[in-house]
Structure formats: structure tokens, C-alpha cells
Assembly symmetry: C2
Homo-oligomer: 230 residues x 2
């Protein structure tokens, strides 16, 4: 049996979950609190990041991008057309560039602010670092999200999927971030039709279903969150 | 002919330079200012990041980690033992975890502060965003650098190289960051003997020579910067 230590609203965790599901990997999920230092998890990975994947051969792999590269290398061969990484090095570089952009820049400029202020802070108990949401962080996220949606629309309008003709890791890295932002009702869908059409296509995949069932107590999802035709 | 658009004190650029040199790739270097928006470069990569590698087949690859993965995939096969990526997926995941740690976390917590405040701001002209160095940023870098050096020492004391038995991309990602910090005299070498011994080994490689010749006008290197036996 393999395991994924994750948090349901950590975008990097969602990225790993999507790829695991696309690959039909049976995984036991262990929920963690990203804001609590957990000695057992730190022993597995000193960066203290989520998600952490423990393969059934006991290999420990930490971090959304590292896990997904590992999955492609170890399980991808049997996946044929939905391997999620193209064959040619230049195309793979484009996938990695976009994964870094979404998991790094979009995450740092938008998702991380919103999830910290609107979800993690609400779930923190006394003594776990609980403070009130910071309106400046939420404002920054709202100012930044628009150009990211437009960039997704720019790519989606010119290509079949974000990195090119094929569905790749880049689509899931982006969709994982967007899904968290969308739960919170913070995606300006009116900003870009092509981005919206792309997201509707990713969201309709069976791998997305479990994400759409995640709920945070006290923070209901935006009304259209589970709607495949939003 | 292939090209690398870079800045001599961008750590990600240095990371790509080291790997290109280890691979004996003939490259033409084009110096850029990371703080100036350059329309031609933005057309090549909308993230506007350095370095950018243009392969002799005109493939454009942006970003230190993406470039080095591309080099391993396209030129690594002929490198034999100094391929810089191990054969097994679990070992490759460890390399990628460390590259992300050094190019992401060490960079964000230390190198980026120091290079921005002490080098880029000095090189900026009026109208390019020039302001005085921010002492708070420099203090943050100095507070953070120590545990990074200790982590490098921890790895180096337990393994032959940072990611394991073999020299890998992880050593060059780390050394590229350290080399910039060291130029500025901000590495607390007394904090960890094993880290120092590891850096002396990387620094002695021929691929390091060109880095040791880089100089910023007005910011002389720390006295031991070029010393292989510091």
C-alpha cells in the first residue's frame, strides 16, 4: 500500500492527488495540518512540506512537483497516451516551466495568501499560530489572480492543453491551484472565456471528483464550485 | 551555437553555467540585467526569469532547474559517470527535492535578499528602480544563512555528495547559491566544518573557475572567495 500525507486544501497536495488518480494508483490518504510542526513528518522531509508520498516499496518522496516527476518515471510507462509528460525534451521543458510557474508563482502570489488567510487560519486552534485574516494579503491575491487567469486563457486559446497538444502535468499543476481559489469564490471567471473553457474540461475528468467533495467546516464552497457547467 | 542569457550573480544562472561547463557545452553568454524588463526576453519566456538557454536547434528553455533537467535529458547520455542525475527514480527524486530546496528556499531566504540589496541595487541606474539597500532584508538573510549551511553540513557529513554517493545537480544547485553568498562574505564558514569541506571540493572543479573570475564593480569579493583552500 502507498500513502499520501496531505491537506485537502494544499494545492500541491491536490496536484499529487490528481496525478495519482489519473494514474489509477490506490493510495491511503493521511490528513495533516500544514501549519503544525510534526516531528515524524520532519524526519521524512526536513523542508516540512506537504504532500509526502510513501511508495509501497517505502520510498519517501516530498513535494508536489517531485512526487509527480517520480510518478511519471515509475508508473508512467504503463499509461500510454495519458502519461502526462511528452516524449521530447523540449516539450518536457515547456511542461516543467509551466509547472514551476503555477506551483511557484501563481501559488506564491495568489493561492498561498488565500488558503492561509481564509482556510488555514480558520482551522488553527489556540496555540497553533491562530491570528485574524490579513486583509492586505487577500487584497494582494485578488490583484494578482486576474493576470494568471488571463495567462491560462492565453495558453488555452493557442494550444489544445496548456503545454501543447497533449494533456500534461502542467494542466494538473494549474488546475490544482485554481480549484482551491475557485472553492473560495476568488476566480474572476468573467476575465477570460478560454481559461474558463479549459478549466471546465479539466474539472470534468474523473480524477477531479474527490477534490470537489472536499469541504472546510465554516467555509462553504462557492455556489458553482462543484458545477461542471459553471 | 547555443546561448545562455544570464547575469553573473544570478544564482540560477550560475547553476546553469556550472552544469553547462561540467557537460563541456560550448555556449555564447549574453549578459542581461534581471531588474530590467526586456521585451525580447519576455517574448522568449513570460516569467521574465533568468537564465534562458537557447539550444543550437533553437529550442528555448527558461529557468535554472528546467534548463539543467533539459541538459541531462539531451546531453547527459554521453556523460557517463558525471551525468549528474542518478539512475533510479527514488535517487532522482532526492536530487530534485534538494534542488528545489536550494534554488527555492535557500534562494528565497538568503541569496535573493543579499544579491538584490548588495549587488543589483548598486548596478541599477536612475529609473531602473534604484533605492538604498534595505538593512532588514540583509538582517533576514544573515539570520537564515546559518541553518542552511548546517543543513548542507548535515548532508555532506552523512553522504559523499549532497544527494548521495554521486555528484549530482543538487551539489551544483547548492554551490551556485553559496558562491554568490560567499562572494559577499556572508557565509558563516565557522558554523560547519563538513559544509566547508564539501564546498572546497565543489569549488575545486574546473567548472567553477569562470564563476570565481566574475567581479562586480564597487563590490570586491570576500578575500577568500577565489581561494580553493579557504
Amino acid at each position: 500500500m502507498s500513502f499520501l500525507h496531505h491537506h485537502p486544501f494544499s494545492a500541491a497536495s491536490r496536484y499529487a492527488r490528481l496525478v495519482l488518480s489519473e494514474y489509477d494508483e490506490a493510495v491511503e490518504f493521511v490528513e495533516e495540518k500544514p501549519w503544525v510542526r510534526n516531528a515524524a513528518l520532519l524526519a521524512l522531509n526536513p523542508a516540512g512540506i506537504l504532500p509526502i508520498f510513501i511508495d509501497d516499496n517505502e520510498t519517501v518522496v516530498a513535494g508536489g512537483s517531485v512526487i509527480t516527476e517520480y510518478l511519471v518515471e515509475t508508473k508512467g510507462a504503463r499509461m500510454g497516451e495519458v502519461r502526462l509528460m511528452p516524449e521530447h525534451a523540449a516539450d518536457r521543458a515547456e511542461v516543467r516551466r509551466l509547472v514551476e510557474w503555477f506551483a511557484g508563482k501563481l501559488h506564491g502570489e495568489v493561492t498561498n495568501y488565500l488558503v492561509t488567510e481564509k482556510i488555514y487560519k480558520r482551522q488553527m486552534k489556540q496555540g497553533e499560530g491562530h491570528t485574524s485574516p490579513d486583509p492586505a494579503a487577500i487584497r494582494a491575491a485578488r490583484a494578482n489572480v486576474r493576470y494568471h487567469i488571463q495567462y491560462i486563457g492565453y495558453l488555452a486559446a493557442r494550444r489544445n492543453w496548456l503545454a501543447g497538444r497533449e494533456l500534461t502535468l502542467a494542466d494538473f499543476a494549474a488546475a490544482a491551484e485554481i480549484s482551491v481559489i475557485d472553492y473560495l469564490g476568488e476566480v474572476p471567471w468573467d476575465a477570460d472565456e478560454a481559461a474558463k473553457a479549459w478549466y471546465a474540461r479539466v474539472k470534468s475528468r474523473p480524477s477531479f471528483r474527490s477534490l470537489l467533495n472536499d469541504v472546510v467546516r465554516g467555509v462553504p464552497p462557492a455556489p458553482h464550485y462543484v458545477d461542471l457547467d459553471f
